[in-house]
Amino acid sequence: MVPDYNENEGERETVSLKTANRSLAVVSPLLPDSTSGLRAWFYLVWLSWRRQARSQQMVWIAVGLLLFSVSLVAIFTARGAWSMRYWRWPYRQGPTYMQWADEVQMLASLPDASAEGQGVQAALAASVRGIILYSGFPIFSHWIVFLLFLSFLVPLFNLSFATEALGGERESNSLIWLLSRPLPRPAIYLAKFAALLPWTIGLTLGGFVLLCLVGGQSGLLALRLYWPSVLAATLAFSSLFYFMGATFRRPAVAAIVYAFFLEVIFGNMPGYLKRISIGFYARCMMFDAAGDFGVQPERPEIFLPVDGATALAVLLGLTVLLLGIGTVAFSRAQYHEVV
């Protein structure tokens, strides 16, 4: 509805609308100051959280891969694949490990064996059975947690949301609406990060819970031991990819290059170079948590792990550091393409 202005010169200062019984007093500056920076900040968190819910291609890809992985794990669990029971020695040709255990057991029950010999055979057979029985957790940890989840899904889940938080606003040119409000730039940066976390934590931890639940007993044990590492890695990856969103013009590309090339290359370097990768510290936390269950680096003298507490401190410190650097960078940035 178009406002109808009173063209009468004498009444011009009190512009009124015929269409609504309102006057300029509605927006009169003479009203007491009812604005609040804190209220604006919380609203920005809420608004950003809501806007992150918009379906984005990367998120759908991540969710699709998660569902695919969950289905795969469910199939493996149903087939009892999280165990050395069906492994063979010699490789692919000989009897399974369980058959070896049975044969050792049979040897122990031979009538002409000595009592000592039978005792040793029985102990050996029991040990082999015990190892086979509890081999599920290390196998699940190695294949599902370390190789699939930590190396691939965690970075993907995080980058799909974190690069979009600011990067998406930049690409769609809508960042101008935040930058033209009287909100301090550091507050904008932190608000959007706060809005991002429920999504990245939800998707990463939620995905991990799902994978573990369909992983049977091994999965449940992995969930109990590894969730703090997953959470710490999520915080670090989120802050890194979010920072990339504020810095790079094509943040998703930069984040993919980092997650699937640099992380892999650095994470597998011998010596101390791997310590610049986020995945290394997450794995260290996991090794520390699951050491009693036989989960450890294949070659500790090359992997050179740090203890769990140090790894946690590094991941949390990195999160804070990246947030600080990002806040400063965003506060000084002039986004030529968005303004």
Partner: protein, 372 residues
């Protein structure tokens, strides 16, 4: 090359150009607008609303804004210039989206980059991007809440702003379905929300139909009469002349001229304009003074009242033209007389070029605009 306003009264030399906009309130009694959510002290009110001092901004090797000095207090100021003249860059600097590489910009004494300065400014950007998934009302309401208003007040302000821009009845539709004109109205509505003292409107009339333009022109007039200061950019002089007679013409990153259209025309008249005329050579390679077309043209030009001087430039033998350099005042009249002279004597003009870029730009606008 001298600038258009390099005249004695402009006082350029070492002193930068200054545009001072004064209130055009018809009654002259409108109270000064107060900033968003606060009361101005007398001291603050005495400060210029906008003060740009020798502001320069580069985009790599390209200069976007060059040594601009501008002071605004109230009323409507039109910022006109061709695409790439630096209007939008200047507006981005004023609204704190960009930082000047040199010079300073202050809004009521606050650095334009600061949060406190943005409280005084309502910005309607040229960019056509929104939160497309929202309705017009949701978008404007969200913008109000980002100012920190309580929900109820944000709703009221959004409703009022939407009514002011004529979008109250169409605000429930999603922004992505809006026409260009409706999107412009939404952009304007969000700029009005906090009742800012200074409104920076980048091409606000672009994409608006004629009826809508009239509504906007009236709205801008009303805001100015309330003591608001509006800086409105456009690349169409005619459009801005309907709104204000106070113009700043930008060319090549500089403010080439400031004042009313009439003032600018007067200054232009007194400012000798440098024009190069290439006359087609009748017999290529010959330089016979008897038949030299340009000498005849030069003689004819010198008889014109507005011509200050004529110079024959060296012609290269391989060129088929002879260049003449003319210095003339009152360009509008000069070009009329030149046209008459050329038609009467049948000179073959291969090229006509104004050598002063800024003056050329100003002239282009003034000649294409309505007569003052």
């Amino acid at each position: 090359m001298p600038d258009l306003l390099d005249s004695p009264d402009s006082g350029r030399g070492d002193r930068p150009l200054t545009a001072i906009s004064v209130s055009r309130d018809p009654k002259g009694s409108a109270p000064p607008a107060l900033p968003f959510g606060s009361r101005l002290t007398e001291e603050a009110a005495a400060l210029p609303l906008l003060l740009c001092q020798r502001v320069s901004k580069w985009y790599g090797p390209v200069i976007g804004v060059n040594q601009v000095t501008l002071e605004l207090r109230s009323g409507i100021t039109g910022l006109v210039g061709s695409n790439g003249a630096g209007k939008s860059t200047l507006m981005r600097l004023i609204t704190g989206q960009l930082r000047p590489d040199l010079g300073s910009i202050e809004i009521r004494g606050h650095d334009a980059w600061s949060t406190s300065a943005r409280r005084h400014v309502g910005y309607c950007p040229e960019l056509d991007s929104f939160y497309e998934e929202m309705s017009g009302r949701q978008f404007v309401e969200a913008m109000a809440r980002l100012y920190g208003y309580p929900r109820r007040e944000a709703l009221d302000r959004a409703a009022f702003a939407l009514e002011r821009v004529g979008m109250a009845g169409r605000a429930e539709r999603r922004v992505r379905g809006y026409s260009k004109g409706m999107r412009q109205r939404i952009k304007l509505a969000q700029a009005l929300l906090h009742d800012p003292e200074l409104m920076v409107l980048d091409e606000p009339l672009s994409g608006i139909d004629p009826v809508g333009r009239d509504e906007f022109v009236r709205l801008f007039g009303d805001l100015a009469s309330m003591g608001k200061c509006l800086l409105i950019s456009s690349h169409e002089l005619e459009e801005l002349e309907k709104l204000t007679d106070h113009l700043a013409i930008m060319a090549h990153g500089r403010i080439a001229a400031v004042g009313t259209v009439a003032q600018i025309r007067d200054r232009l008249d007194n400012h000798p304009l440098l024009i190069r005329i290439d006359v087609k050579r009748s017999s290529p390679g010959e330089n016979d003074s008897e038949n030299d077309e340009r000498r005849r043209l030069a003689a004819g030009l010198l008889k014109l009242n507005d011509v200050v001087g004529v110079e024959l430039l060296d012609a290269r033998p391989e060129d088929a033209v002879d260049p003449v350099l003319v210095r003339a005042r009152n360009p509008q009249r000069f070009f009329q007389e030149l046209t008459r002279l050329v038609l009467e004597e049948w000179y073959e003009i291969a090229r006509l070029e104004t050598l002063d870029d800024s003056t050329s730009a100003v002239l282009g606008y003034l000649l294409s605009g309505r007569s003052a």
